[in-house]
């Protein structure tokens, strides 16, 4: 019986105007997105290569002058534009995308907005994630909002139930058929888009990409299931389809527009953090204290004479200053991470938001990617520091007074650039992606089950007359 219901519902959906319109709209947006991505990714990669090339050249130049200069000069490591950004850009344009480091410290991060235009209003990039989060969730509501109330109005519901079909089977049939119909719109769109991106040569086909595409489709299917459950709920709550439509639209606006866009407000008010100015003040105070406690002559400098005894005092002071500042800043960074993470957890009460975070994790992008790079560069920095101190130790002409900021009292020999450890960003591992995804996955599954169960209970009690 379930099969009959499913077949009838799917055919009903397929022949409907909304299916045709959704298909055309989704396909059009997918194609527009892919064409746009091909173009923007190429220019982003070009810019990245140029910047990276210059950064490597600057490092080579410093290394050829002296190993100390190479070690103490702070430089940026720019995160590469992600090839799979067409699935989800994970708001990487707005997140910090450059890490500042030297052999002595990982100073911090920033959003290098070199490629973005401050005059453009902020907008969501039209990638696969956006298409599912906004259009597909909307289409799902369109397929389900009148599934019950609409049939009641056209008086077919009573007829359907007069057959030997249980209410549960009927509702589940409607539910599954709505999900399948939506997937019939999404999957061709995504495949066409993938084809365009592959044919244009922006990205190359790999097992990883296949996995990410499959993960995206699975997660989008899950979102569809949750939204369909909400749509059915709206449909069984109301007695007529007009009201259920309004309920569904209100829910959609709440999930897709209001909650995700309240995150900055939530972050600031529920999880307030210290202001950047006051952190800077604390750093200044720490510096002043250290300066006051430093032996006289610590600031005396003569770059012509590496063995000037004051250089040792200053090297000592500079190391202490670095450690003091690092402690304060790293602490503040951890607070920032916590504020961001907690806000994300809270706004995942919206399935659309949870879906977004889930896709970000699936493609290994956005915040998680940044955090991995952030942790990795700390490991790298230790290696870089060890490399440098070993090099310095070998130089008999160096006083070995390690100063993290100055090219004075350590080796003046050039470093062989080939042997200098380089930082490379590693793509996120499967477990690295799964771990953050788990929470959002659980939220979506539980929410889907609960809402479907609620609509089942209500449907059992539904007056079909």
């Amino acid at each position: 019986m379930f099969k009959t219901v499913l077949k009838r519902e799917i055919l009903h959906n397929l022949y409907s105007l909304r299916f045709m319109l959704s298909l055309v709209l989704v396909l059009a947006v997918f194609v527009a997105h892919s064409l746009s991505f091909v173009r923007s990714h190429a220019s982003a990669m070009e810019k990245y290569r140029e910047t990276r090339g210059l950064a490597v050249k600057a490092m080579q130049n410093d290394a050829s002058q002296s190993a100390t200069r190479l070690a103490v000069t702070p430089r940026y490591f720019d995160l590469r534009p992600r090839d799979n950004a067409f699935i989800a850009d994970a708001k990487e344009r707005f997140l910090p995308n450059a890490l500042r480091y030297s052999a002595w410290n990982v100073f911090g991060f920033q959003n290098k907005s070199g490629s973005s235009n401050p005059f453009l209003p902020r907008y969501d990039e039209l990638n696969w994630m956006f298409i599912a989060a906004l259009i597909i969730s909307f289409v799902t509501f369109l397929f389900t909002f009148d599934a019950v109330s609409g049939e009641k109005e056209s008086r077919t519901l009573a007829q359907a139930l007069s057959n030997s079909v249980s209410r549960g089977t009927l509702l589940f049939g409607k539910y599954v058929s709505a999900i399948l119909s939506v997937l019939l719109i999404l999957v061709p769109g995504a495949l066409v888009s993938l084809l365009i991106v592959l044919l244009a040569g922006s990205v190359s086909w790999s097992a990883g990409l296949a996995g990410e595409t499959a993960a995206y489709l699975a997660v989008a299917g899950l979102l569809t299931a949750v939204m369909a459950a909400f749509g059915l709920l709206c449909s069984v709550i109301a007695r007529n389809s007009n009201v259920s439509l309004l309920l569904a639209l209100s829910a959609w606006i709440l999930f897709a527009v209001v909650i995700p866009n309240s995150s900055a407000f939530i972050a600031k008010n529920l999880y307030p953090i210290e202001k950047a100015e006051s952190v800077q003040k604390r750093v200044n105070v720490a510096f002043e204290d250290l300066n006051k406690g430093a032996p006289p002559g610590s600031w005396m400098m003569n770059s012509g004479n590496p063995f000037l005894p004051q250089h040792e005092l200053r090297a000592d002071l500079q190391r202490k200053r670095l450690a003091a500042e690092k402690a304060i800043r790293d602490d503040y960074y951890r607070v920032m991470f916590r504020q961001f993470e907690k806000t994300r957890q809270l706004i995942s009460i919206s399935p659309v938001a949870a879906f977004g975070f889930l896709v970000d994790a699936a493609v290994g992008g956005g915040y998680q990617r940044f955090r991995k790079a952030w942790d990795d560069i700390h490991v790298y920095q230790t290696q870089f520091q060890e490399y440098f101190t070993a090099l310095d130790a070998k130089d008999p002409k160096s006083p070995h007074w390690l100063n993290p900021n100055e090219d004075v009292s350590t080796t003046r020999l050039a470093a062989d650039f080939e042997t200098v450890p380089q930082f490379t960003e590693q793509p996120m591992s499967l477990s690295g992606r799964l771990k953050p995804a788990l929470l959002y996955l659980i939220i979506l599954v539980v929410m889907g089950c609960l809402v479907f169960f609620a609509s089942f209970i209500l449907f059992v009690r539904y007056d079909v007359r």
């Binding site: 220019s43 973005s116 527009v257 209001v258």
Partner: protein, 535 residues
Amino acid sequence: MIFHIAKKEFLNNLVSARFVIGFLLCLVLIPFSILINVDDYRDQMVRYRLDLDAAEKSLKEIRVYSALRPQIIFAPEPLGIFGKGISAQVGNKVRTRLGEMPLLAEGVAATRDNPFLASFFSIDFVEIVAIIFALLALLFSFDALTGEKENGTLRLQIANTVSRSRILAGKIAGILLTLLPILVFCFLLGSFVIMLSGDLSFTGREWGRLAALALAALVYLAVFVFIGLLVSSRTKTSVTSLVLCLFLWVLLVFIVPNLSSYFAESFVGIQSRDNLDRVLNDFDKATLERIAAVEKSLPRPDWQMSWYSNSAEDGYRELYGLSASYFEWFRLRTEAAEPMRLDNADKKWGPQRAYLDSLDRQARAADLLAMTSPAGIFRIVASALCGTDRATYQARMDDVRRYRETFVRYLQGKNIFASYAYITPTPPSAFRAADQLIEARSGGKFKNMREYDDWAGKQADFRARFQILNTVKLPNDSPDGFPTLNADDMPRFSGRAVSVFGALEGSILRLGLILFESLALFALACVAFIRYDVR
């Protein structure tokens, strides 16, 4: 007759579920959006006051003209509470520099404190209005004709002696009459929240702009009513009409505006900021080389010893306790270097402007594409009215650049680059030759420079060479005791307030377009209804 039809429509709508739910939706979302942004505005005001105090304080603590670099802080725009526009991403601080024209303001609000929060978007009143009003307008108009046709009442109406155009006019009036209270209610509610938050006070100008925003919202609303009617008059059933209307809503309100920015960014490139920075750096290097050449050509001072010196960016240099000829050396250097740096700033402005133009071109392309949707036009007009759009920001930055010219003229008028006051508060009458300084500082141990040099050459400990010169402290050897600079005659930056007409000036064309759109849609709806098969 029109009145009767309008009244019937109005009453019909009033008792419908959509009116109640629409009203409730507004009742929740409007205060929420306003409160979010009031909170944000307060935060900005606190920062603004802190920044302003810091800027004022730093002006009062300086002792030399080379440190006089007024910092301009833009006050947050009160109407930004209604429409944020691009205000969160363009910054609000500009430091007046001699060596560079202001390019973009610093202190971008979105990346302060926690830069990760920049990836969170936030919603405002204008956005809510654009989304909800379009939806309500479509929901009230999609079945205006199809619904009556399905009920069989349309036939009855037309059987009376009333023309189709009157029926249509009556329906439009009825729908607008239903929506108008919601719109008025939303704006009143918004204003009410503003008035309740005690620390906010809007001037008459701001209320005027808010009223203009309400008018723009009304026109926007009308466009969507006409779209709904047009769809309704071209379809046979309400369901079809509804589905079409909802798709149009998603397309026009969400997809087109996003797509337009996305397309503009992909297909209308901007110059690379990194590249610009490199070009500017090259200019700076060339200027530094020219200045170094000047330094070489200057007569050598008798003692190249900066007893107490401070220097930082943009030509700041504060000197104490130098020999008279070394002071003179610095004066001559500055007299030549500062005009060179000013000239360098003018040269750099070429590439800077090209970069700004490329940003502007891309944003204009995005605007142009967004104007294919009434929601896009409404957002542009609304941010212009709220004073948070690109044009307002650019006008403000132009003002800042003009102010820099005024400031430079002020410095040049004082012939300050050729004056010692640019680098030291020490009066020239107190300058001494190197020999005198050495004699005084060493407490008479050395009579002149040569004696000191002979002695110093024999000292193994580097520090001892300086300690001997600390035997007697001279009064002019440090900033202590010198008064701070009085720059009260310095011209001040004054921003201009955005007036209703000023804000509308750039948007007239867009408002015209949206009006034209609504008229065209109305005409189309009329024609479609006249040809409508009412059976």
